[in-house]
């Protein structure tokens, strides 16, 4: 399943939906999904469809945070319990808004 990327109607928020397995194979797609947009926008990573996440995915999230200049502009939402657990274990709550 490919990565989906939506832009809100007012153009201020980018919503990225990573696939079932969010791993190294998504690297280019994920970078493309945010790098063509201004870093000043708000970013939402919607993990509703993601069941597996590996350390390179965590790396990609860090790249997005770098691009946005500030983790407070990046929200990670709808993470399933297993995925949320991984994000919490590595203390990503300190870097992103986990909802």
């Amino acid at each position: 399943m490919p990565m989906r990327c939506d832009i809100s109607e007012n153009g201020a928020t980018i919503r990225i939906l990573p696939p079932d397995r969010f791993d190294f194979s998504c690297h280019l797609e994920f970078r493309d999904a945010f790098s063509k947009h201004d870093g000043k926008l708000k970013y939402i990573v919607d993990l509703r469809g993601t069941n597996y996440i590996d350390s390179s995915a965590l790396g990609m999230l860090l790249l997005l945070r770098q691009h946005a200049g500030d983790g407070r502009r990046v929200s990670i939402i709808n993470a399933k319990p297993d995925v949320l657990n991984i994000l919490e274990v590595v203390n990503f709550g300190d870097l992103f808004i986990l909802e």
Binding site: S56, G59, L62, V89, V90, N91
Partner: protein, 558 residues
Amino acid sequence: MNSQSPALKVLVAEDHAPSSTIMCRMLEHYGYDVVVARDGEQAIEKYRSEKPQLVLMDVLMPRMNGYEAVRQIKEIAGDDFVPVIFVTAIHDEDALAKCVEVGGDAFLTKPYSHTVLKSKIDAMLRIRSLHDRVVVQNRAISHFQDQLLNEQRVAEKVFHTIVRSGRSGEQGVRCVNSAKSIFNGDLFLTAKRATGELHFLIADFTGHGLSAAIGALPVSDIFQSMTSNGCSVADIAEVMNAKLKRILPGDMFCAACIGSVDAIERRLTLWNGGLPPVFIVDGNNRIRERLPPAHLALGILDEQKFDRSVQVFALEPRDRIFACTDGLIDAPIATGGRFTQDGYEACFEAPVPSNMQFDWIIDSVREIGEGNQNDDLTLIEIDTNLDESVSVAKTAAASRVPSTWETSLRIDMPALQTFDPVPHFLRLLSEIQGLDSHKANLVTILTEMYVHALDGVLLGMNPELRADHAGAPRYFEERTAKLRALERGSIYFSLRHRVEGCGGELIIQVASSGGEKNFNQVPLSGRRLPLLRTLCDCVYVMGSGNCVEATYRWGVSH
């Protein structure tokens, strides 16, 4: 045909002269360069000498028939693709099938139309150019692969040298490390501090293979050199983070746990950034403490935002420490799921003797696992009953001729809250005097004097609490809070060295002033004074206990 490129060469093997002539005319008409053979043997000769790009072959010919000629031509061609079209009057299906069997790529039965022959040739040449392109690409890929493998081999060599030299070979330390590719992103290092504590580091870089192992170089370097310079776990974590943040690309980081086991004071000091919980396991194999990561992994946060605070835990006599990378938790199991944290913890419920616990966990992963891990996997066990005898050997000489020098340093607030002067003086002693063989003694003397000045005098900490291993965590909590709250105070160091005989005499004075406490009498207590007395030639406690002077003679026979 493209008139720019050289004409394609076609070999025509045909014993019947009129047929051969007609075919040649036609081919020349279409712009091909034609080579003629009259029989199978001649066809092979011409193939060798002329290297045609395509062969048109009759089946029935004198001396050697077309089948045999094609078999040999295909053999000579090897990996090159030379299309062969049989042109024959035979209509027998078996004979036609044999054309393909011996290596022919197509056949055409006589009589044939020129248009059909021309299209067959075009089709074959198209396949040939496709084949050539694939060959070129394959060659490039295999060249690239060789290069990559070679680079991996070089990197592997470097990496393994680090790993091999990176373990101090302590008894009671066990490690299993299995890799997904040639070498992995997991690293386990140990080193002994001069004061006897065992420092260990378990690290997991993002990604696998080469990219992951690159970061291992600076990490290992920092770990070894800072440990040998007597630096603390918090210092090491801070320096590693700054270095990795600077050199790693934004999406790479290093989940790591840096720890120190003090077997005499029965204490574990830990900085865990992003690795699965570390366990303290008691003599009955029960998990007594779960120490989840308190921090983000190394290489993510800027220096200013980095949190260097460590956790301190008291150790019981039979305690062991277990730590792993997430490869263990994530190891796929045969039923489709993963090993999981629960699966890992369940291993400690099993009725196995404590010296088998480690193998039990590894066997559990392997048994239910699919054999090939998804990730790099590392599990370590450290028995906390390490041999930590502090050596007292003062007859060893220095690597530099003794000379006379002195230095002093005064540290005020707020530098006192973060700066550890002991490594600074050790470096100095090593560089000026080459006192490396006395490092163990000197680091202990300097540390004990400094801890007395800061903890005892300035912070008014009760040293009994620190010595009592159960009270140690409370001691360090209290110490952190008091240090943060400390408003004024300073510590003065003075080191004077002079030549004596063929060795030297070092007089260290550490004095503190200020502080919140009204220090009437601060005893140099606990095991501190006896320890200093063992290591030094004389120890004076002056003032109200706020100034201590120790004399250390080396290279002098007593």
